[in-house]
């Protein structure tokens, strides 16, 4: 069944504007409606797996009009967005009762989802910017939703860096438009290819386009919180309400950062050896620095936020390694294996990191604190939270049947096959650091002695548990995505092919 593409943007956008009408009295109706919206998005995303097509808005053919493009990479990201947002929305149905203005929260949440869906579907680079801003502005507001000291400070910091990133991206878009005369991504790519054919030295980017590429890398790198640009993330993610932390860490940095970066670098400009190395170095820096900083944290959510930086490093490393092998003209099989590892890790991380943040929210709601030193012995008091948190920790560390193991295994195999032995060593080493990090969480939160003041703690009920168990089941089953050939061929392989094909993107779009 083919789902019309604008529906993915229209459903969350329309419901986002409808929800505030219900106000304080209709809180229950608003919650149900918002959940309906995210669940229907999940169903639509599942239905559109394995399809690829172009939708022209208002029947204006490209390059005159704006197009929406669904291809393998987009549908992978759509699936991840809708899974995480459905779980987080279900969780917030109960969790957000402690805040006022729940309808406004739900509306901002759906705006963010609409922005992210728009980013992954857009085939027009300026439209991508507009949707990126919708998602970012909603997320700035959501980080500061509590309106307490820390939240406002984190939100301001995030907003300043996020706005600078957006301005860099806009500047890059202006430069690209000045050099190629079009905003459609397929046509930009075509123009850049014909420019590089006409130039003698073959590396066809002129100074303006090189500068634009640098601006894009800095801008999207800031949005993705890669290591030299990561300063905002450890403040912003812990300060948000738990379901929003799950959305931000689980999927927002990937959609606005990694996805957009891949699209620009692989499909528009074309990967080169230097850019491949740059991505590999950024990835390794993020992995190592994020892991080291995380081990020293005593705030539960802050620890998880640093570990997000480290895990994002894995994704960028995998994709960069694949790009590097392609650019060097190496074996395409290993290149696609590395990219497969990166993208699979992206999806896995979306699931288990959002689950970890949801469990941290559950712990915080039950105990009223996020400090590891003030907790302990909660294993008996919060059995479900404990079980789901252990599953998520096992996944992030990479213990065999769970999801994280498979993606890390693929990354290591790809690195060894491509003779990057030191990269494989670093991947394994950072896994060990991750193990220490999450043993610390298990030890201080769930084991040890129960403090006096936490004797009365009770497990949370209702939708919060449903959301956590849903994600935990996914964590266990995600390995099947790789092991069952039909699932792999319909979900992961098309996404990898989009990146390995690189500049063929423009021919695919224009040809249709």
């Amino acid at each position: 069944m083919s789902v019309p593409l604008p529906v993915f943007i229209a459903i969350p956008l329309v419901s986002a504007f409808l929800l505030p009408i219900f106000g304080k009295k209709g809180k229950a109706i608003a919650t149900v409606l918002a959940n309906l919206a995210t669940v229907s998005l999940l169903v639509l995303a599942v239905l559109s797996i394995g399809q690829s097509r172009v939708y022209e808005i208002g029947k204006w053919s490209i390059p005159l009009g704006i197009n929406l493009v669904l291809d393998g990479l987009s549908s992978l990201l759509l699936l991840a967005i809708s899974v995480v947002s459905a779980a987080a929305m279900l969780f917030s149905a109960r969790y957000m009762e402690q805040y006022t203005a729940k309808a406004k929260y739900l509306s901002l949440f759906l705006l963010m989802v609409a922005g992210m869906n728009g980013v992954v579907l857009s085939g027009d680079i300026f439209n991508l910017f507009v949707f990126l801003e919708i998602a970012s502005i909603a997320s700035y507001a959501l980080v500061g939703f509590g309106c307490e000291h820390e939240e406002l400070e984190a939100s301001f910091k995030y907003m300043v860096l996020g706005s600078i990133a957006s301005i860099f991206i806009l500047f890059g878009i202006a430069l690209v438009y000045g050099n190629t005369g079009t905003l459609n991504m397929a046509y930009i790519s075509k123009a850049i290819q014909s420019m590089s054919l006409s130039e003698a030295n073959g590396s066809g980017l002129n100074a303006g386009l090189m500068f634009a590429l640098a601006l894009f890398i800095v801008g999207f790198g800031l949005k993705a919180a890669l290591v030299p640009f990561h300063a905002w993330l450890p403040d912003a993610h812990p300060s948000a309400p738990a379901p929003i932390s799950a959305m931000l860490s689980g999927i927002l940095i990937k959609t606005l950062g990694i996805y957009a970066l891949c699209r620009v670098v692989f499909n528009i400009f074309g990967i080169s050896v230097s850019i491949g190395w740059l991505l590999v170095v950024l990835g390794i820096l993020s992995m190592v620095a994020g892991a080291f900083l995380a081990i020293g944290q005593w705030d539960l959510k802050r620890l998880m936020a640093y570990s997000s930086i480290s895990q994002i490093g894995y994704v960028v490393l995998g994709i960069g390694l694949g790009g590097l092998i392609i650019a060097k003209g190496g074996n395409l099989a290993w290149a696609s294996l590395a990219i497969l590892g990166g993208l699979f890790h992206l999806v896995n991380h979306a699931v288990y990191k959002s689950l970890l943040f949801l469990t941290s929210g559950s712990v915080q709601m039950a105990t009223g604190t996020r400090q590891l030193r003030e907790m302990g012995g909660l294993a008996e008091k919060l059995p479900v939270t404990r079980a789901t948190c252990t599953i998520a920790s096992a996944s992030i560390v990479g213990i065999p049947p769970f999801s994280g193991f498979w993606s890390k295994l693929i990354l290591v195999v790809a690195a060894i096959q491509a003779h990057f032995y030191w990269v494989a060593a670093i991947i394994v080493f950072v896994s060990l650091c991750t193990l220490i990090m999450y043993l610390k969480v298990q030890r201080y939160v769930f084991l040890g002695e129960l403090p006096e003041n936490l004797q009365q703690v009770k497990e949370n009920k209702g939708t919060m548990l449903v959301a956590m168990i849903f994600l935990a089941c996914l964590c266990v089953l995600m390995g099947l995505l790789l092991l069952v050939p039909s699932l792999k061929q319909s979900i992961l392989d098309p996404a990898v092919k989009v990146l390995t094909d690189g500049l063929l993107y423009s021919a695919n779009i224009i040809g249709k």
Partner: protein, 120 residues
């Protein structure tokens, strides 16, 4: 030359946003950057002595008048982009300023060196 000045404006904004300690000044710096980019977009489509890109009957009379129109009309696309970008920056400006006000209510200062509860 105008491009260099525009870039200078961008760098002034960036300097202001990165170096200043006052929250409101940081917001002003970000907005200066935003305006520099908008100015750059407008200049991309500008033509000295150009005309408005609206076709009327006179332009369609013969191939030569149409070619003259095409070569003298201003590029309308950057103007549409700038309108969109201005609306977006208005939204984020409103949010930034409101967060500044809320922060001032909580901390009683705009100085970011004194607003430091988050560390690491």
């Amino acid at each position: 030359m105008p491009y260099a000045l525009c870039f200078l404006l961008f760098m002034i904004g960036l300097y202001c946003a990165v170096v200043k300690k006052n929250m409101v000044k940081i917001v002003i710096g970000i907005m200066v950057m935003e305006y520099a980019v908008n100015l750059f977009l407008i200049m991309l489509g500008y033509r000295t002595g150009g005309e408005a890109p609206i076709i009327d009957k006179g332009h369609l009379e013969s191939a030569s008048t149409f070619a003259k129109f095409v070569s003298s009309a201003v590029d309308p696309l950057p103007q549409a982009l700038v309108l969109t970008a201005i609306v977006i920056s208005l939204g984020s400006l409103a949010l930034m300023i409101s967060i500044c006000i809320r922060t001032y209510e909580k901390y009683g200062t705009f100085d970011i060196t004194e607003i430091r509860r988050l560390r690491g």
